[in-house]
């Protein structure tokens, strides 16, 4: 039996509910929905990196990456990115930020597949992203 391991990077708080920020079992790694919260500060509530789509997108991607790395994975292992936006008008700007970010990540493998849909999110949050990775 493969071990199922919870992934809790130092930048993240202990999860506030009975879920894990990420889990790895065998060669499968699943990252939970991440938002643009800054690295956790003990005793303080989660705080978004800023009000803008750019700030939140970059922080969200950094949070996904921290969980991947905690599980021994990298962007190259990611098969699927699910991007949840709140506003169709944010699509072009998110794509620009996304492309620029991944352009700097020195990917060795093809980029992940992606689905983007428009949903409701808690007030103040403009983007949520989760990811499925296959290692090895």
């Amino acid at each position: 039996m493969s071990d199922k391991t919870a992934l809790t990077p130092a930048t993240h708080t202990e999860p506030p509910a009975k879920f894990s920020h990420g889990v790895r079992k065998g060669n499968i790694l699943q990252v939970a929905g991440q938002v643009g919260f800054l690295p956790a500060v003990p005793g303080q509530p989660p705080t978004p990196a800023g009000p803008t789509l750019r700030e939140q997108t970059l922080q969200t991607l950094a949070n996904v990456k921290a969980i991947l790395e905690e599980g021994g994975a990298s962007w190259d292992d990611v098969m699927m990115m699910r991007v949840y936006l709140t506003d169709v008008d944010h699509f072009a700007e998110m794509n620009e930020i996304y492309n620029s970010y991944f352009g700097e990540q020195n990917l060795q493998a093809p980029p992940a597949a992606r689905t983007t849909v428009y949903v409701g999110l808690p007030p103040g949050l403009l983007i949520e992203v989760d990811a499925l990775a296959v290692l090895g």
Copy 2:
């Protein structure tokens, strides 16, 4: 070639369309989106467990669990839970119900990752959940 098996618990009707309530192939098990319908009664249309978020959440989780068990899996094998709510204001209550439920499930492994987003659902339904599990 691994066999792909449809998972249809006794509590569920035959699927009303060409999809499966769950499928397992090799060590991967995918549970279709479940809602808070009570166990099927022949000749009667699907009926939600009740109008409240609590009733529907508990029934939804029971429905997910039935499919996992039909495929030889348990909550400990679940990597990802996708929770679809219709109202951001339901998040805190759903978390409380979720935590309480999983607190009683005697988990041996870390809990699954999770993404919660807010979408439209058919009238009367307040929550939908699907799950990805890796066995073994």
Copy 3:
């Protein structure tokens, strides 16, 4: 280490952003969110198959299938279909089209699990679908 391969069928343009239409790594194949765009014509912007749910659903499923086949998979390998609609009132018609389509696909294995939720999509698009497949 398994190779991660980008899947770009001849019917598809090069992805407009740093994502892949589909990726395969080992026996896992992920199809990115597909919409009802007609096969790509060089120099022309993506064009939906038509304004109706029927036209877009059939084209979307054809686009998913093209990516599966590019990766050496078929509908029989699909574990999960995620269907995003924009309007709850489209559910019955989508189901009818979906059933009719898969009734003609000569499936040898049980159909995939499925989740359908109602979200926002870019103007003019009525459906988006992604898929996870396990080969072998």
